[in-house]
Assembly symmetry: C2
Homo-oligomer: 129 residues x 2
Amino acid sequence: MNEEQLSYDVYDDRCPTRDVLARLADKWALLVLGRLEREPLRFNHLKREIGGITQKVLTQTLRRLERDGFVSREVYATVPVTVEYSLTPLGKTLTKTVTILARWVEDNMDSILQAQTNFDNGCRTVMPG
Amino acid sequence: MNEEQLSYDVYDDRCPTRDVLARLADKWALLVLGRLEREPLRFNHLKREIGGITQKVLTQTLRRLERDGFVSREVYATVPVTVEYSLTPLGKTLTKTVTILARWVEDNMDSILQAQTNFDNGCRTVMPG
DNA sequence: CGGCATCCCGAGGGATACTG
DNA sequence: CAGTATCCCTCGGGATGCCG
């Protein structure tokens, strides 16, 4: 019983893993995790590095990631307060996968653009030789 | 110039890779891709296997995945028409990563639940010993 | 069976203003 | 600097009905 045989299943919509997957399957969450893999960063630094993210969304994203135990929030009582975000050990094991996904998209973008063009031209069946 | 040096960057919000990442960073898209890795499936079969997905959303998701060149749609002119979805070669290279993410969540769910409990109890700093 | 069309609602997220 | 608090509005996605 201690072993996980009939344990978690993301394909079951009542499984709690579904919620976690939904939070990870988020553009902003993936970008934040990917960026934190390299090094811990302060709030505004993180905001500047992630093009197009707003302050509100970054805060929300960081809170969720913190709640799930992927990100750690460290407050330093400097003159203007400094807050540094970093990956937890759990979060580090996760980012291996996350960054791979982002890299994959970048590496295969040309193929994707080609596919989009074909699709948009009505060529939805297999190309001729 | 033909080489990709200053090529694509998902952290640039004007980069086309950002849109693709956003479509992949989607709960339903990940589940569909993950399920298709095992075998090609018909529409309603796919719908039954993915708990909680509606017909509309599944259709949308499949169209996007098809447009980006990850999924192939095959129509068979049987009596009630049969439509089979499968991964393209490009899609197959992608799912390696996708399924890892789903598996990761399932494997680490216990740690995540623990982290959530700590967070919700106001214990947002490092645990003692 | 495998969709498309329509209506509709609630959450997500942008913009803006304010605070410790 | 690192947020919180509102307003507001889009749009994702559920429900339902119809079609080839």
